[in-house]
Amino acid sequence: MVLEPSSSLSPPVAPPPRLELRAIDKRFPGCHANRAVSLTLQAGEIHALLGENGAGKSTLVKIVYGIQRADSGTILWDGQPVRIHSPAEARRLGIGMVFQHFSLFDSLTVVENIALGIGWKKPLAELASRVEEISRRYGLPLDPLRTVHDLSVGERQRVEICRCLLQDPRLIIMDEPTSVLTPQEVTVLFSTLRLLRDEGRTILYISHKLEEIRALCSAATVLRAGQVVSQCDPRQETAQSLAQMMIGAELKAVQRTQASCVGEDRLVVDGLHLSPSQPFGITLDGVSLTVRAGEIVGIAGVAGNGQNELLAALSGEQLSPRAEAVRIDGQPVGLLGARARRDLGMAFVPEERLGRGAVPDLSLADNALLSGYGRQALVRRGLIHFGLVNAYADRIIDMFSVITHGRRAEARSLSGGNLQKFIIGREILQKPGLLVCAQPTWGVDAGAAAAIHQALIGLREQGAAVLVVSQDLDELFTIADRIAVICQGRLSETHPVHETTVEQVGMLMGGLFETPEQPEGVHTHGL
């Protein structure tokens, strides 16, 4: 079967919408995820589903894809009411989905993975040639015989897209597809999506990146707290107005001053080589980096390029082979554990909030003690000083506007953004000389993200050194003074933010380290 645009895919004459949701309602224990959501998707449009974390986007698309069932409401497919009980049924109707988290077997080849995913019974060679054909046709360069383990995240996504397209879907749901891509890869993905749209396919595009939506989508449905708050044409809106619809309030811009005086070296990483402690981990290959007092250094990079390994080596959860490979305030700490490094003035905000940065089942007071025990002197002669612990927790909650019913609340009861404010507050109130912060606003709503950025900038203005590791380039360009890129376990030189562009950083994210920085190098790749 060749993917020719069949007659049913050509622009409809008297259109019943491709998919119509009427008054979809879904409750979970303690959460009303979708309240009477209605949504209409036309043939041949790219429709954005926009909303903050927890607004109900995922629940809604899971209902469309048959993973979950609505409590009430109607689904019309080509004008006919349907019941979608399973993903298999959704695929039979012509609905495909590309998930944010891939489900691929690392040790199998691309074509083997695809064969498993779609239940292919014929010879693999036949499938391989079809994969090649699709990848040529839609601009998704892919070698069907390579092992998935060797592929970059962007390539893995192409495998997923290819697997989805092989089933000739008429509606493709894409869940946050660009969160793992370099800017160049995003450009390539967008041209693929436009090609698919022009064939008459419908794309439901889930994202919270407003500029992308304005560039790509011709219609948008905005969800807030499970309800549709707006249906609009994003091309007619500004990012500001979209954000306002999404969060329901004015968004405060981050105030930023020029670095007044950059001080002495606080963190020095010097030729750090580190073999991974886990299979499929990344080897750190001669990473060198300096973070000075009074500046924020950002490390960009696509996930899985050694960020976790580098962060563990910095926090002390993973020791370095040499003491001198990591230095804090000139003191070699490569062989010291996390506790000793904290005592030397380092604070650390990990990527996983629940389960690393905080213990889900413990109260906020206990979680304040978790990392604050040393520098806040909350423990005396082996005994916990509960009065101090409670005061410290209250201070964090108060100063960082953590929304909770008090320090006794379990960490798991907080929303992602509030928990992150708590963790960042806990680390900042320890007055660290050096703060290492991973993905500070990943999955955090826009209001909390602005507060977190402001807090990081405030810490820098007090003369601390701040290292931020993030996949979000917008974030790094907002707060960082200098920026470096990690790729395949290697770290690029740092560049002052005002002397570099998103495109240049994107090139580095794709691994083009050797290219000397020359502006004309930018257009060589996919632009």
């Binding site: 224990p29 019941r83 554990g337 213990v359 978790l370 082996g382 005994l383 916990i384 798991r412």
Partner: protein, 359 residues
């Protein structure tokens, strides 16, 4: 009657405490059925098992005597279990505590009569249990050997070691060849607190251990570290807590308490070393720890209940000629039902007739 389990949003505090109560009730119901199947009047048999042992002051004292080693072992085990350190070998540590403490008592004989003899015997017992706990701790931290298997297997080593000593060097020359040591001197024997019963000082030591256990868990930083390591080891690593330290602390503390339980048995009710000194207190303590929700006060109550199951087993053996294995059956049922009832902490039952199918 069809039902399904539905996840609760948060764990139910009511069922944390309700589950043990329900488990006890279910054990009574099924125990009654068991007695009925064996041809006994169920209520009368349950009365014999659970109530009649407590009809006399002596019976109450016996209950406390049996509860003491259970509570001592369980408090130590609970500390480790909270930190995901699985010491299954309290029985062996108890036995080694009896061996080392008893060894000191025998060595001093009647010669030592000072006040210091008894504390020395107790300390020797704790040191013995601790030493036996250090072996799995070292193998775990050094070679990642499973502490479950190592501590369990060391129980049999300890039993055989005790057996060797009482059959050999420590056998009482005036004991008509029985494999047991001479009786300990008075100075090395725990004083009786209640005349006419066997209630000894060890019971107070057990109460003290419960209090100390509560203090360690609730007030100390090491208790907090153990809790964090048990709930979320990754967060413990992030905070800079040492996993090895937690393993060592857990084994040293639980080993010492189990050793204390052992030496209290031989310096208390038994008064000498014998080939078998514990009817499985160290293993039963695992049930006690979980039945008591790993909390010292809960453990206190649970140890009384499990002590009662020992007395009840003896009572039905005497008056109904049932085998002593009934004790094990009741203990097993209790643990089984407890584990089953614990599901209700995180899940609730929904009767399917009331669930509306939605599309």
């Amino acid at each position: 009657m069809a039902f399904k389990l539905e996840a609760r949003g948060a764990s139910s505090r009511r069922w944390v405490y309700g589950a043990p109560v329900l488990a006890v009730l279910l054990t009574l119901v099924f125990g009654g059925i068991l007695f009925a199947l064996l041809g006994f009047e169920p209520l009368a048999a349950l009365y014999t098992f659970f109530i009649s042992p407590l009809n006399s002051a002596y019976g109450v004292a016996e209950l406390l005597v049996k509860a003491a080693p259970l509570a001592l072992c369980a408090v130590g085990l609970a500390l480790g279990f909270r930190g995901n350190v699985w010491n299954i070998g309290a029985e062996g540590q108890l036995t080694m505590g009896a061996v080392t403490g008893g060894g000191v008592a025998l060595a001093l004989g009647d010669s030592g009569a000072g006040w210091w003899v008894l504390p020395l015997v107790m300390m020797a017992g704790m040191a013995g249990g601790m030493l036996w706990g250090m072996i799995p701790a070292w193998l775990k931290t050094r070679f990642h050997a499973s502490e479950i298997l190592v501590s369990l297997m060391l129980t049999y080593v300890a039993d055989l070691f005790l057996s060797m000593m009482v059959h050999g060097p420590w056998r009482d020359p005036d004991g008509y060849g029985f494999p047991q040591s001479p009786m300990f001197g008075d100075a090395a024997t725990l004083p009786i607190l209640w005349a006419g019963t066997r209630l000894h000082l060890g019971v107070l030591l057990a109460l003290l251990a419960v209090a100390v256990g509560w203090f360690v868990i609730a007030r100390t930083f090491i208790g907090f570290q153990i809790k964090v390591m048990g709930l979320t080891p990754v967060a413990g690593g992030y905070a800079g807590f040492s996993h090895k330290r937690i393993i060592w602390m857990s084994f040293l503390l639980s080993g010492a308490l189990a050793g204390l339980a052992g030496v209290c048995e031989v310096a208390g009710p038994i008064g000498q070393l014998q080939p078998v000194i514990s009817p499985g207190y160290g293993f039963t303590a695992i049930i006690v720890a979980f039945l008591g929700r790993l909390h010292p006060v809960g453990i206190l109550l649970a140890s009384l209940l499990m002590a009662l199951s020992y007395l009840g087993g003896e009572a039905v053996q005497i008056s109904m000629r049932l085998p002593l294995a009934v004790t094990g059956v009741f203990q097993g049922m209790l643990l089984f039902f407890l584990l089953a009832c614990d599901v209700l902490i995180r899940y609730r039952l929904r009767w399917l007739s009331s669930v509306r199918e939605a599309g």
